[in-house]
């Protein structure tokens, strides 16, 4: 059962071959049996899941069910879930029980999805390896001495090990796509504004986006349909109707122009990953698409620009954690200053503190122009590079990550080396474009991701290309050993 996709399970549920309660019980048992080795879940909501499954079965029986009804999923612990702990991977929110549901959570619940629990993540979404979580590192099911990537490492590991059928993730600099690449699953970051950020704990408000993490592009299309849409409560939500992502999956991609980013295929890319990505791209040409080389001349500046913009926005967003209204409070604060300083210093881990400090520095008097303003101008240049590139092609491809999953602890002492994990993904967030990672052939037995980048609100085309490739290849059907 757990090897099946949303599409297959939905058919089975609607056909009465299996009930959501059976499916949910099965997945909860799998979590008990296997998650000890992975640490992918922070909170398991067993009782609630079974109640939701019962309700889903009732809807399926009365003919009032959709494609997500009865499907067991998990939510990244950055999404507020009503009456359930929402920790954001941090000591700061270790005991925070959210009084409301994030819009994305509410929409999936309305669609009838069953929540198995909350997945582990890098603290406050800051990281590329899921090693900064207060609740301990997550391990990659393909090799438990390696990282699953981050910050949505828990969601990626859980989906890859088939402990849930799909999961939600968030992506600010690559946090859906990079872990999807390292664990061999499909992850999509929609266009900025496509999914509501209401109830999604903010890291960098001009970059954050929610998205589906699944085992196929078809599943991502189904799940995105339930997640996307205008939300009045999110002032950055796009007032734009949601495309029918599933309807266009079957379109022929012959003649489509696929741009290959010259700057992303050279130095810094692991040779094995390069070979794998070339093989995936060859798959696209066999389908009749045409590869054209394109250039993003300012792409090399995306990591420097991001490490100003994102920390600056995070220093502002995390200032709400002050020990006053919710979250961790230090013992016996002697005055207000002490309350703030100790609550925050005790509640936040070292990576979060580093980023808050860089952000505060970049925004402080005398440095704002040299750093923040400069970074925003570089951001404009990067967006313009993409605009020009999309005049020559319909979809852009590149590797998702520069290598395969690295060993736990390998990059722990070198923050900058960790930041470079996102060299191919960050530009996409800076421009606000939709991006996706799908499995390419493995390299030395470890998963590799092919990144697809689309024009604004062109998720349907990305999903179409990905799905067509998945119809003629089986890289996305591979599963890690030991989790059968």
């Amino acid at each position: 059962m757990h090897d099946k996709t949303i599409a297959q399970l939905s058919a089975a549920l609607h056909g009465g071959e299996v009930s959501s309660v059976e499916l949910t019980q099965h997945m909860l048992q799998r979590i008990k049996d296997h998650d000890g080795r992975l640490n992918s879940l922070v909170t398991v909501t067993g009782e609630q899941a079974l109640e939701q499954a019962k309700a889903a079965d009732a809807r399926l029986a009365s003919g009032n069910a959709g494609p997500m009804t009865g499907i067991p999923i998990a939510h990244k612990d950055i999404f507020c879930t009503r009456d359930v702990r929402t920790s954001c991977g941090s000591r700061m929110l270790e005991n925070f029980i959210s009084p409301y549901d994030a819009t994305v959570v509410a929409q999936l619940q309305q669609a009838g999805a069953v929540m198995l629990g909350k997945t582990n993540m890098d603290e406050f979404a800051m990281g590329s390896s899921n090693e900064t979580s207060y609740f301990g590192a997550v391990r990659n099911p393909w090799d438990t001495d390696t990282v699953p990537g981050g910050s949505s490492g828990g969601s990626a590991a859980a989906v890859a090990a088939r402990l849930c059928i799909a999961a939600t993730g968030t992506d600010t600099g690559g946090s859906i796509r990079q872990p999807a690449a390292l664990t061999g699953i499909t992850g999509l970051k929609p266009t900025y504004g496509r999914c509501s950020r209401w109830g999604m704990i903010a890291f960098a408000s001009s970059l954050d986006q929610a998205g589906p993490m699944t085992r196929s592009a078809e599943d991502a299309a189904i799940m995105l349909s339930a997640m996307a849409g205008f939300d009045e409560r999110d002032s950055t939500s796009a007032e734009r109707p949601v495309d029918d992502y599933v309807a266009t999956l079957g379109n022929d991609i012959r003649g489509m122009r696929i741009g290959v980013v010259r700057e992303f295929m050279g130095e810094g890319l692991d040779a094995g990953v390069g070979v794998s990505v070339q093989a995936a791209m060859a798959g696209l040409t066999r389908l009749g698409a045409e590869l054209v080389e394109i250039s993003l001349p300012n792409a090399g500046l995306s990591v420097p620009a991001y490490y100003v913009v994102a920390p600056a926005e995070c220093s502002s967003n995390l200032s709400r954690f002050d020990g006053v209204r919710y979250g961790h409070r230090c013992e016996d604060p002697k005055d207000l200053q002490d309350l703030y300083e100790r609550s925050r210093s005790e509640g936040f881990g070292p990576e979060v503190k580093r980023r808050i400090l860089i952000g505060a520095y970049a925004l402080s008097a005398g440095y704002y122009d040299a750093y923040y303003l400069k970074a925003q101008k570089v951001r404009q240049l990067i967006a313009e590079d993409f605009r020009r590139a999309f005049e020559q092609c319909d979809v852009i491809v590149s590797p998702t990550a520069p290598g395969t999953a690295f060993r736990l602890g390998e990059k722990a002492d070198d923050p900058v080396s960790m930041y470079l994990q996102d060299i191919y993904t960050i530009a996409v967030n800076l421009a606000g474009l939709p991006g996706m990672s799908i499995p390419a052939p493995a390299s030395d037995g470890m998963p590799v991701g092919l990144q697809l980048i689309g024009n604004y609100f062109d998720e349907a085309r990305l999903l179409n290309v990905a799905h067509q490739l998945q119809l003629v290849s089986d890289w996305h059907e591979q599963s890690p050993a030991g989790f059968e």
């Binding site: 950055t236 209204r325 580093r354 400090l357 240049l381």
Partner: protein, 95 residues
């Protein structure tokens, strides 16, 4: 770009984070490395380029000035560390 422990202390104060003298040295080094990464932006001339705050062409939406939320104070205060009669308790602010 090297940050002194003094500068680290100043920024830490701005961010309301406590940094011990021991941490300050290591933090100074980490932050300096990040600033070296960031300095790569100086390689490009951006005079005349519009800063981009936001990926979408949109202005802040406004709505009717009408009450739309119901009072759920008790529910929202359930996570508060210290509450009395609906008020959040903090150490004395005014001397």
């Amino acid at each position: 770009m090297s940050l002194t422990p003094d500068e680290v202390a100043k920024i830490a104060h701005l961010a309301r984070l406590a940094v011990t003298p021991d941490d300050a040295a290591a933090l100074g080094r980490d932050l300096s490395n990040i600033l070296d990464l960031v300095a790569q932006m100086d390689a490009v001339d951006t005079s005349g380029v519009e800063p981009m705050a936001h990926p979408l062409e949109m202005a802040q939406r406004l709505r009717e000035d009408r009450v739309s939320e119901e009072n759920q104070r008790d529910r929202y205060q359930a996570n508060a560390p210290a509450v009395e009669r609906g008020l959040f308790l903090v150490p004395k602010v005014i001397e």
